[in-house]
C-alpha cells in the first residue's frame, strides 16, 4: 500500500503548502468548540430534555408517525407490556427476541409473553460468559429466525422520529434489524429535540471515553424505491416498526 506520509505529503503539496501539525478549526465546525464548552453545552441539553420531557414525547409521537412508525402511547410499564403482547399476537408471532436492556427490566415483557405462549429468547450470551465465535453465531441464528425483536432505546430524536441504539453487551446489533418486526420501548426523558443534540452528546461521550463501537439511528421501517420507483417496506430490515411510548 501507499505510504501514509507520502500520501499526505502529496496532498499538502497539491494544496500548495507544507504539512500542518496544528490547524485552528474554522468557526463553522464544532471542532472549534473546546471540550469544556462542549461538556457545558451537553449538560444544558440534558437538562432541557428532562425539563421538557412531556412535550418532547408528544413531538416524538408526531415525528415518528411521519417516518412510518406505529406509535402506541401508554401510561405505565404494565400497559407497555400489554401493548407489546397485542402487537405480537396481531402479527401471529411465535418467537420473540429480546435485548437485555434496563428499560426491559422495568417493563414485564418476558413474563407476559411467556404467559401468552410465545417463545422468548434473549439475544445475548448469559451475563458473565465470555465472548466467543459460537456465541456470536448463536445470536445471529436467533436474530434471523425470530418474528419480532424488542429493544429499549438509548435516545430518541423528536425532529426525525428516530431511535438510537448503542450495541454493547446485552444489545446485539441484529435484534432491531433482522426480525421482520421491531418494537422499541421508550421512556419519558429519553427524547432529544433534534439531531444537533444527539451528535453533541455523542461527541461528549467520545471526550469522556464512553463512545461505543458503533451506533445506529433508526427512523422507520426498512424501505426501498429501487423497483419502478415504487416505495416498498421491509427490504433487509423490518417491514413494520412499533414505538411504545411510556408517559
Amino acid at each position: 500500500m501507499t505510504d501514509r506520509n507520502a500520501f499526505l505529503e502529496k496532498i499538502a503539496d497539491h494544496l500548495g503548502k507544507k504539512r500542518d501539525r496544528r490547524v485552528q478549526p474554522d468557526v463553522s465546525t464544532h471542532l472549534a468548540e473546546t471540550r469544556e464548552q462542549a461538556s457545558a453545552r451537553a449538560d444544558r441539553m440534558r437538562k432541557e430534555a428532562r425539563d421538557n420531557a412531556p412535550a418532547l414525547l408528544g413531538a416524538l409521537q408526531e415525528g415518528a408517525t411521519a417516518q412510518g412508525w406505529v406509535v402506541h402511547r401508554v401510561p405505565s410499564p404494565e400497559d407497555a407490556a400489554d401493548a407489546v403482547i397485542d402487537i405480537c399476537q396481531r402479527s401471529a408471532a411465535r418467537s420473540v427476541l429480546l435485548a437485555r436492556m434496563e428499560a426491559l427490566s422495568r417493563v414485564p415483557v418476558e413474563k407476559t409473553l411467556k404467559a401468552a405462549g410465545i417463545d422468548v429468547t434473549v439475544a445475548a450470551r448469559p451475563e458473565g460468559e465470555a465472548y466467543s465465535e459460537e456465541a456470536r453465531l448463536a445470536v445471529r441464528r436467533a436474530a434471523f429466525t425470530a418474528d419480532v425483536g424488542i429493544t429499549g432505546v438509548d435516545y430518541a430524536v423528536a425532529e426525525t422520529g428516530t431511535v438510537v441504539l448503542h450495541p454493547r453487551g446485552g444489545v446485539s446489533r441484529l435484534v432491531s434489524l433482522a426480525p421482520p418486526r421491531h418494537i422499541a420501548i421508550i421512556e419519558k426523558g429519553q427524547v432529544l429535540p433534534s439531531l444537533d443534540e444527539l451528535f453533541a452528546l455523542e461527541r461528549e461521550a467520545f471526550h469522556a471515553g464512553r463512545l461505543t463501537s458503533s451506533y445506529n439511528l433508526i427512523s422507520g421501517p426498512s424501505r426501498t424505491g429501487d423497483i419502478g420507483a415504487t416505495i416498498v417496506q421491509g427490504v433487509h430490515g423490518p417491514v413494520e416498526v412499533h414505538m411504545v411510548l411510556i408517559g
Binding site: 496532498i11 504539512r19 456470536r136 434489524l177 429501487d226 423497483i227 420507483a229 415504487t230 427490504v235 433487509h236
Partner: protein, 475 residues
C-alpha cells in the same frame, strides 16, 4: 470501471431514441427533483445549513492533509486499521488480498461508488471470491451485469418487467409482478448471503476526524447488515469524505438526505467507530478503512476544480439537469454521471478521453442552484472547456484544427472596428441572397451544425451605424 466516456454522443443518441428509457427517466424528475425542492422549502434554516456545510467542507479540504492525519490516528486508537491507496488498482488489490488471507469466500457489499471506480467486483470474481451487492438497485444491476445509472438509484432505468425477469432467473422461481413481491424475493436471496459472508464492504458517506468514525446512510438496512453480520468490515472512502467533528454530522445529514430523496432522514444512519468492543455481543472483529485517491489529487491540485471535492454525492444535480434527464446515466461512460460527473469523470478518468462531457451541459445553472453545498458546476465546466481548447498541457487539448482556426479568425475580426464592419458587410453579402424574411436555413461549413436543427438570423440589410448616419444627415 472501464472508461467509456468517449462514447458519449452515440450513447446519448441511443437513449434519446429509446422510449422505454425516456419513460424511466421521468422518475428522476417526479421521484427525486420535485421532492427535493419541497423538502428544502419545508426546512427551517435550510440555506443557513447549506452555507455552514459548505464552509466546513471548504475548511476541511483546504486542510485535508491535517484532517486525514487526525482521522487515521483516531481510527487506529480504537483498533481499526487504515490503508492508503494512490489508485484504484491498489485499493482493489488490497481488498482481494485481505479476503484471501482471511479465507473469505463471499463478500457482501453495501453501495459504494468508490468500489465501482476501482472495479472491485471484477477482481474478486477473478480470484473466485463471490461479491454480492446488497443495495437492491445495485443487486439488480449486478444481476444484469451493468453499471449504475444514477448514484442514488442505480437501477432507475430498469422497468419492473425487466427486474422481474432478472430475479426469476436468479431465484429459479416464477416471475413476480408487483414491486412488493419482487422485493420479497430479493430479501430471501440476500438473507442467505448475509449469513454466509465473512466480509462486508461498504462505502463511507462521512468520516469524522476527531472520533475516527465513519457514517453510512441507507434506507434498506443493508449498510447495517454489512457492518453487523460478517466478521470483517472494510470501508472504502474517497479521500475527500472527512469532516472534522461528530457534532458536524447533523448539518450534513440534513442536507444530504433531503437533497438525495427529499426525506427528513433515511431509515438508517449507522455510525461505525471501530471494530466490535470487548463486551459487544456481535459486530466485526476487524475494521479496515481504505482511503483512496484515484486521481482526486488532480481535482485538488487545480484551484478552479477544487470545490468539486465538496460534493457529498446526493445526486440532486443529476435530477435537476435537463441534459441528464434526457441522455441518462450510462451516456457519461464512467462512475459519476450528470453535472458533477461531467466535471469529475473526465478529470479522474482522462480528460481527452472524456472531452465530450464538459460540453454536455447548457450551462443553465440548475445544478448549482440545487447543490446542497453550492458547488459552482457551470464555472468548472467552462474551465474544463477552456482547458480542452487552450490549456497549458498540450497533450490534453482536443479542440479540432477547424475550431481553433475559426476562433482565431473570430477574435481577429471582432477586435478591430474596421475589420468588424468589413466582416459584417461580407456576412450580409453572402447570406442575404439565401435568406427569407431575414432568416436562413443554411450556413456554410463549418457553421452548418447551427442550421441543421434551427434557422439563423441574418444581419439586417443595413447596419445600425449606416441608418444612424442616414438619419443624422436627413435631420
Amino acid at each position: 470501471m472501464e472508461v467509456k466516456t468517449r462514447a458519449f454522443k452515440g450513447k446519448a443518441n441511443e437513449t434519446l431514441a429509446d422510449p422505454v428509457l425516456q419513460k424511466s427517466l421521468e422518475n428522476v424528475y417526479s421521484g427525486f427533483h420535485l421532492r427535493r425542492i419541497q423538502a428544502g422549502g419545508a426546512t427551517p434554516g435550510w440555506d443557513e445549513q447549506r452555507d455552514r456545510a459548505r464552509a466546513i467542507k471548504a475548511h476541511t479540504i483546504a486542510n485535508l492533509d491535517y484532517y486525514l492525519d487526525m482521522l487515521v490516528r483516531n481510527v487506529e486508537a480504537k483498533g481499526g486499521k487504515v490503508h492508503f491507496a494512490d489508485d484504484g488498482k491498489e485499493a482493489a488489490r488490497f481488498v482481494v488480498d485481505l479476503a484471501r488471507s482471511r479465507g473469505v469466500k463471499t463478500v457482501i457489499k453495501s453501495k459504494s461508488m468508490v468500489s465501482e471506480e476501482i472495479g472491485l467486483n471484477d477482481l474478486l470474481e477473478a480470484e473466485s471470491i463471490e461479491p454480492v451487492e446488497t443495495d437492491l438497485g445495485e443487486y439488480i444491476i449486478q444481476l444484469a451485469r451493468e453499471t449504475p445509472y444514477h448514484i442514488i438509484a442505480p437501477a432507475i432505468h430498469k422497468t419492473p418487467e425487466q427486474v422481474a425477469e432478472l430475479l426469476a432467473a436468479k431465484s429459479g422461481g416464477p416471475k413476480k409482478t408487483t414491486a412488493k413481491e419482487m422485493t420479497a424475493v430479493a430479501r430471501t436471496l440476500l438473507r442467505d448471503a448475509f449469513q454466509r459472508a465473512d466480509m462486508g464492504v461498504t462505502g463511507v458517506n462521512f468520516a469524522v476526524a476527531e472520533t475516527g468514525s465513519i457514517t453510512l446512510v441507507t434506507n434498506e438496512g443493508n449498510g447495517r447488515m454489512c457492518t453487523s453480520a460478517p466478521r470483517i468490515h472494510v470501508a472504502l472512502m474517497g479521500m475527500e469524505k472527512v469532516v472534522p467533528s461528530m457534532a458536524d454530522l447533523s448539518a450534513f445529514l440534513r442536507i444530504l438526505i433531503r437533497s438525495a430523496t427529499g426525506q427528513r432522514i433515511s431509515a438508517y444512519v449507522s455510525v461505525v467507530n471501530g471494530p466490535r468492543a470487548a463486551g459487544d455481543e456481535d459486530g466485526p472483529e476487524e475494521f479496515h478503512l481504505v482511503i483512496v485517491d484515484n486521481n482526486r489529487s488532480r481535482l485538488l491540485k487545480d484551484a478552479a476544480l477544487r470545490e468539486s471535492l465538496y460534493c457529498i454525492r446526493c445526486g440532486a444535480c443529476m435530477n435537476a439537469c435537463p441534459v441528464y434527464r434526457k441522455v441518462g446515466g450510462h451516456s457519461y461512460g464512467w462512475v459519476y454521471p450528470g453535472p458533477i460527473g461531467a466535471v469529475v469523470s473526465p478529470v479522474m478518468s482522462g480528460l481527452k478521453e472524456g472531452k465530450a462531457l464538459p460540453f454536455a451541459s447548457s450551462l443553465c445553472g440548475a445544478c448549482r442552484e440545487v447543490c446542497p453545498v453550492r458547488i459552482d458546476i457551470p464555472s468548472m465546466l467552462l474551465h474544463l472547456r477552456s482547458e480542452l481548447a487552450e490549456g497549458a498541457d498540450r497533450s490534453q487539448r482536443s479542440a479540432g484544427v477547424v475550431d481553433r482556426a475559426s476562433f482565431r479568425l473570430w477574435r481577429f475580426g471582432m477586435s478591430g472596428r474596421g475589420r468588424f464592419d468589413l466582416g459584417a458587410r461580407l456576412v450580409r453579402f453572402v447570406l442575404w441572397p439565401l435568406s427569407r424574411r431575414g432568416w436562413t436555413g443554411w450556413l456554410p461549413f463549418p457553421l452548418g451544425g447551427w442550421t441543421s436543427t434551427r434557422r439563423f438570423k441574418v444581419p439586417a440589410g443595413r447596419s445600425f451605424v449606416a441608418r444612424w448616419r442616414n438619419r443624422q444627415g436627413g435631420a
